[in-house]
Symmetry: C2
Subunit: 359 residues, 2 copies
C-alpha cells in the first residue's frame, strides 16, 4: 500500500480519494489556490463544500502552502486539476518529483506546434522544460491518464464505476490500475493513450450537441417526456461516436477506444444533466453563445475550449499520424464550431452524417 498525494481538491479529485482509501492507501488531498475554502472546511469537519458530502477521516487535507509536507514520503502522485492547470501542476510538483509515478484525471487536448497533444504529454513536456533535474527515465515522464464514465458525486458514494487508465508506459499503466482497484472501482488498462485521452476530451464537445434536441424541443413548446426529440438526440449520439473514431484514427490512435469507456461510456454519462448538457440545451433553444454563457453564470465550459482547439486542428488541414482529416469527415464537429464560433443557428446537418445521403 502506498502514500498517495492528490493535487486538486475539486469534486473529482476529492471523490477519487474514496477508492484510493478503500484500496488501502494513505491519501493526502492538497488544494490548489482555488480550493482554499474547501480545504479549510475539510480540516474542520471533513465536509466537502462542492461535493456536499463528507469525506472519510482517513483523507488528510492540506493547503497548497503545505505541499512540501504533503509530498514528503509520497509514493504516487494524483492530479485532480483542470486541463488548464496541468502545466502549472507540473511546475508546482517538480521540486518533489523523483521516482513517483503520476496519474491524472484532467481531460483535454492542446494544439501545440501544429499538433494535437494529449494532456499526459503536455505534463511531461512541461517537466522536461524545467531542465535536467529529473532523469528522463523517471516515471513522471509517462503520466497515466484516467478516463471513463465517472460522476464525482457517485464515486464519492461508492457507486460501481468503471474507468480506463492509459499512458505511454503500458506496464506502469497496469501497475497503477492494479493499485487503485476496489470492489466498486474497476480500473481497466489500455495501451492506447492517444485514443483514450482524445475521446475523454472530445466527449465534452459532443455532449453539447446531443443536448441541442432538449433545447429545440423546449423552444417548440414541448414538454420533457418520453415523446420529445429523442430521435434527434440519439442520431446525434451515434454520429458523435462515429466522428470520435475518425478523429482518433487521424491522430494515430485505436478507433476502438471510442467504443469503450472513454468514448461511448463517458459520452453517455455526460448527457445526464451536467453543465455541458445544460449549455447545449440553451444553444438549441435559440440563445447565441454569449447569451448561453451568461445564462450559465460562470460555470466552467470545457466544451468551448475543446471546440476552439479542434477548430485550429482541423482548419490546419493537418495530416495526423493516421492520415488526413477534413471538415467533410466531421460534419457534427463542424456544425458545433459554427454554432459557438460564428453564432450559426442550431440546425444539425443530418444528411451529411454517417455515410452521407448521396447515393
Amino acid at each position: 500500500m502506498s502514500t498517495i498525494t492528490i493535487l486538486g481538491a475539486g469534486m473529482m479529485g476529492s471523490a477519487w480519494c474514496l477508492p484510493l482509501i478503500d484500496a488501502g492507501h494513505s491519501v493526502r488531498l492538497v488544494g490548489t489556490h482555488l480550493d482554499e475554502a474547501i480545504i479549510a472546511q475539510l480540516k474542520q469537519n471533513r465536509h466537502h463544500l462542492k461535493l456536499n458530502y463528507s469525506l472519510p477521516d482517513a483523507v488528510q487535507p492540506f493547503q497548497l502552502s503545505e505541499l512540501g509536507e504533503a509530498m514528503a514520503g509520497c509514493e504516487i502522485v494524483g492530479l485532480g486539476v483542470s486541463s488548464q492547470g496541468v502545466r502549472w501542476a507540473a511546475r508546482t510538483l517538480a521540486p518533489w518529483l523523483s521516482s513517483q509515478p503520476v496519474m491524472m484525471i484532467s481531460k483535454g487536448l492542446e494544439w501545440q506546434a501544429g499538433q494535437l497533444q494529449i494532456l499526459p504529454d503536455i505534463f511531461s513536456q512541461e517537466l522536461a522544460l524545467l531542465g535536467p533535474q529529473l532523469k528522463p527515465s523517471a516515471p513522471c515522464f509517462a503520466p497515466v491518464g484516467v478516463a471513463g464514465p465517472c460522476i464525482a458525486g457517485e464515486l464519492a458514494r461508492r457507486v460501481e464505476t468503471c474507468v480506463v487508465m492509459t499512458g505511454r508506459n503500458p506496464e506502469l499503466v497496469k501497475q497503477l490500475a492494479r493499485a487503485v482497484r476496489t470492489p466498486y472501482y474497476h480500473a481497466f488498462a489500455s495501451p492506447d493513450a492517444v485514443g483514450v485521452e482524445t475521446c475523454a476530451a472530445l466527449k465534452n464537445a459532443y455532449a453539447m450537441a446531443i443536448a441541442f434536441a432538449v433545447g429545440l424541443h423546449r423552444a417548440s413548446g414541448g414538454e420533457a417526456g418520453s415523446i420529445a426529440m429523442h430521435n434527434h438526440e440519439s442520431a446525434v449520439f451515434a454520429q458523435a461516436v462515429v466522428e470520435m473514431q475518425r478523429i482518433v484514427e487521424w491522430l494515430g490512435g485505436d478507433s476502438s477506444s471510442a467504443v469503450g469507456l472513454a468514448g461511448v461510456g463517458d459520452l453517455d454519462v455526460t448527457c445526464n444533466g451536467g453543465r455541458t448538457g445544460r449549455f447545449g440545451a440553451l444553444l438549441g433553444s435559440g440563445l447565441n453563445r454569449e447569451q448561453a454563457v451568461e445564462a450559465m453564470q460562470g460555470a466552467t465550459l470545457e466544451c468551448l475550449d475543446i471546440l476552439a482547439t479542434m477548430k485550429q486542428a482541423v482548419d490546419s488541414a493537418g495530416s495526423g499520424a493516421g492520415g488526413e482529416l477534413s471538415w467533410q469527415r466531421v460534419p457534427l464537429l463542424q456544425h458545433m464550431v459554427e454554432v459557438v464560433a460564428a453564432n450559426a443557428p442550431v440546425n444539425v446537418p443530418f444528411p451529411r452524417f454517417f455515410g452521407g445521403l448521396e447515393l
Copy 2:
C-alpha cells in the same frame, strides 16, 4: 411517387405513414387481426388509439378483410408487424406479391437450423416455402429492413429522425431509401444486412441491462437525479456496444454497424423510458423474472425473446461466418440470460468487461 401498402397498424407501422405521405406517396394502412379497433377508429375520425394522435387524411385505413383492395395497384409493400408476425405476413401477402419490393420495420432474430437468422431472410424463406408462384428474382425475396433510433410518437409528430435501411440487394436498398426520404426523415443505406439487423434486435436485450442501475438505485433508497447510479449505467452501455460488435463479427457482419444508428443510436433511444427499460429496472430492484413480467401487465417484452434466442445460439457454441463465439466474450449477455432464465440476482460482472481485469 408510388402506392405503398403497409401491413400492421401498431404504433410504428402507423407512424411510418407520416414520412411516406410527406415523401409524396399514396399510403394505405392495413391492420392485422390485432388492429381491428385501431382501424375502425381511424376510419371514423383519423385518430389512432395507440399513438393517441391523429393521422393525416391522406392515410387510407383498411381492415385485414380488405387486404385485396389495399394491395390492388400496390407498388411497394411495408411491413409494420411484430417479429412474431413476419412469417404470417409473408403467407398473408404472398397472393398479391409479384414485382413489388418489400420494406420492413420488424426487429428480431430467429434461431433456425443451427444458425441465427435475420428477419428479412426469415420473410424470404417463408415466401420460398409457398412454392414456385413467385420468380426467384422477385424483389420481395430481398426485403429491406429499416433500423435506427425512432420513437413512433416522435416520428408521427415529424421529429427529425435518422434511420438506416439495409438488405441483401444493396441497389434496392438505395432505391427505397431515396423513395422514403423527407426533410425530417433521413434514410441512410447500408449494405450490411447482418450487422444492422442484428444490432436492431440486440438493442432490446441490452437496454434491459442498462436499466438495471435504475432499479438498483431505487432499491437502495435513492431518488432519481443527477447523482444516482449513472456511472454503473454508462459502463454497461459501453460494454453493450462492445458485445454487439463481437456478436456482429461472429455472424460475419460489419462490426462498425454497431457504432451507427442501429447500434449506439437505437440503444440510446431505447433507454428513454420505454417498456424494456421499465422491465430492466424492475429486475434491478430485486424482482425475479416472473414478478417483473407480472408487474409489466402484459406489455410485449422483446428482450425476453431475443435473450432466449441468443441463449440457444451461444450455448450451441456455434461457429458463425466470422468465427467462434463463447460466453466469455459476451459476459453482459451471459448475465442477462442468467437473470431472466435462471433467476440469478442482478450483479453486473464488471471485472469481466472490456478487456477484463486480469493483467
